[in-house]
């Protein structure tokens, strides 16, 4: 799972899809996930990083990650 190459992602969490012209905003957690996806990190690795950085329950993180990536797919932002 990786972000499409042509998708522009800013550090602040702003996404632009030049193919469709759509733009998106995300919060800090979303920005970190996108950053990790850009680095080809696996879901397990991203979960690990999130749990290290945030005060959050692992199950909750996994669940939210699942939903977030499905949303990225829905908006055709993933390969």
């Amino acid at each position: 799972m990786r972000i499409r190459k042509n998708i522009a992602v800013s550090d602040e969490g702003f996404l632009f899809n030049p193919t469709t012209g759509d733009s998106f905003s995300t919060n800090g957690t979303g920005a970190l996930i996108l950053h990790l996806l850009k680095q080809d990190k696996s879901v397990a690795e991203i979960t690990e990083t999130l749990c290290e950085n945030f005060d959050a329950d692992r199950i909750l993180v996994e669940r939210d990650l699942e939903e977030f990536t499905s949303l990225l797919k829905e908006y055709s932002l993933l390969d």
Binding site: T26, G28, T29, F54, L60, V61, L72
Partner: protein
């Protein structure tokens, strides 16, 4: 290293176009305490969901309303509308403050007696009064407000048979310029039915006409409608005085004053659109004082306000069961209370606040209840902070009608707690149990 506060990742598609000039209304101010009592602590101790009532706010509301009317009119009497909230603890606060009881069924009448209200301070309204209940009310000198001709003739018959002379009034319905016109209760003013009924009463040796009553509607947003109602009742009172030489003791304008809840479909929030109680008081008292009655014959003004006196004293606390995304991308939040407990969500867009410090992000969400029913929607759309399972919320202004109209449907009804003026909590109604439900059922022997 201290870990950062976690917030669910969000992804929001940016839309171009005109901005909403009103902006996005957010209700993100957390409500962590009610009257200095911790919301979290309340739910820990008494469970979730949980209704909470503030005694301090109830008394504050009553005293405020009483002040507003008594500073404008010399003789004012409030009668607590039992159907709005007939929990004994609530009723007794109003009675302690000086309120009479306004009841609309035999059940409510019994409750009022049980709460220590003297019979002659109980107003018996409503279209359903059995012969037995009428007799009890007549013997107790209660104020019987006659709703229809069948009741009028029943009461005349009972009074003759039992040698009684009950104190009565009639309920009058009329066109006050509001829609829908409530004409199903009482006798109509415009077509002369009310006058005919009054004539029948005044010609009876067995009924004592003491007042005139109307209740023009509910959640009324137009003070001028009350001015019309007051004028019509004054006209009837004046005609009775002229024709029969008798002045009625009171004019009862019923209730119907709104709270500041927001009605569904309203363009602006209730806090911005609902007239103040002062405006209603001005409209009513200006008419009665200006009608021409001598000061010594001015009728007592009775008010049966319920909602405006209790709505903002009630809260419903609940917990997020789940969050999910709907097929069209909208966020959905499932709460542990639904329309079964929060009946008023059928007609209000209730204000819902988080009970914990929220993050910076907000999102639009649907608030669903826990029922496996499509209609179980608490809010169709509300901007909330990012909620997650286990988070707690506070619903505001739920004191009126929920604790009487709630349903035992799919889940059991929750407990109700009252916070007294010293911030001590009291369970005033326990949460329902399986034993309670079972105690009302019988299984035929062939099914055991």
């Amino acid at each position: 290293m201290e870990k950062k506060r976690y917030e669910r990742p969000t992804l929001r598609k940016m839309n171009t176009g005109l901005m909403n000039k009103f902006g996005t209304k957010t209700e993100n101010q957390p409500v962590t305490h009610i009257e200095s009592v911790s919301v979290k602590g309340l739910m820990q101790k008494f469970g979730s969901p949980l209704f909470v009532l503030s005694e301090r706010q109830i008394r504050r509301n009553f005293r405020n309303a009483n002040r507003i009317f008594t500073t404008r009119y010399p003789k004012v009497q409030f009668a607590w509308s039992y159907k709005t909230n007939y929990l004994d603890a609530v009723c007794r606060i109003y009675h302690q403050e000086g309120s009479w009881a306004e009841v609309v069924s035999g059940f409510e009448y019994e409750k009022a007696l049980k709460n220590g209200v003297p019979g002659n301070q109980i107003i018996f309204n409503g279209p359903d009064k059995s012969d037995e209940q009428l007799l009890i009310a007549a013997r107790n000198n209660s104020l019987i407000h006659i709703d229809h001709y069948d009741e009028l003739y029943t009461l005349i018959r009972l009074s003759e048979e039992h040698q009684l002379k009950p104190q009565v009034a009639i309920r009058v319905n009329m066109d006050t310029g509001i829609y829908p016109k409530w004409d199903r209760f009482g006798f109509n003013f415009e077509n002369g039915q009310a006058w005919n009924a009054l004539t029948r009463i005044l010609n009876s040796n067995h009924l004592e006409l003491v007042g005139l009553h109307c209740h023009i509607g509910t959640f009324m947003l137009s003070p001028s409608a009350y001015a019309t109602a007051a004028r019509n009742l004054c006209e009837l009172a004046w005609s009775i005085k002229e024709r029969f030489g008798k002045m009625v003791n009171y004019i009862d304008l019923g209730g119907g004053f709104p709270s500041t809840n927001t009605l569904k479909g309203a363009y602006l929030p209730g806090t911005d659109t609902v007239p103040s109680l002062d405006q209603f008081a001005d409209a009513i008292t200006d008419v009665i004082l200006g009608y021409g009655f001598r000061p010594d014959e001015l009728p007592t003004l009775i008010l049966e306000s319920g909602r405006a006196l209790v709505d903002d004293a009630g809260y419903l606390l609940g917990t997020v069961l789940a969050t999910k995304r709907l097929s069209d991308g909208r966020r959905a939040t499932v709460l542990d209370f639904g329309i079964n407990s929060l009946f008023t969500s059928f007609w209000y867009d209730h204000k819902v606040s988080p009970a914990q410090e929220p993050g910076q992000q907000t999102e639009e969400t649907v608030l669903y209840g826990p029922l496996c029913m499509n209609i179980d929607v608490v809010r169709e759309s509300i901007v909330m902070p990012l909620l997650e399972k286990g988070n707690q919320v506070v619903v505001h202004q739920v004191g009126a009608y929920n604790m009487t109209q709630w349903m035992q449907f799919i889940t059991l009804r929750p407990a109700i707690v009252m916070i007294d003026e010293k911030n001590t909590t009291h369970v005033i109604r326990q949460s329902e149990t399986m034993e309670y439900i079972d105690s009302l059922e019988n299984v035929p022997t062939h099914l055991t």
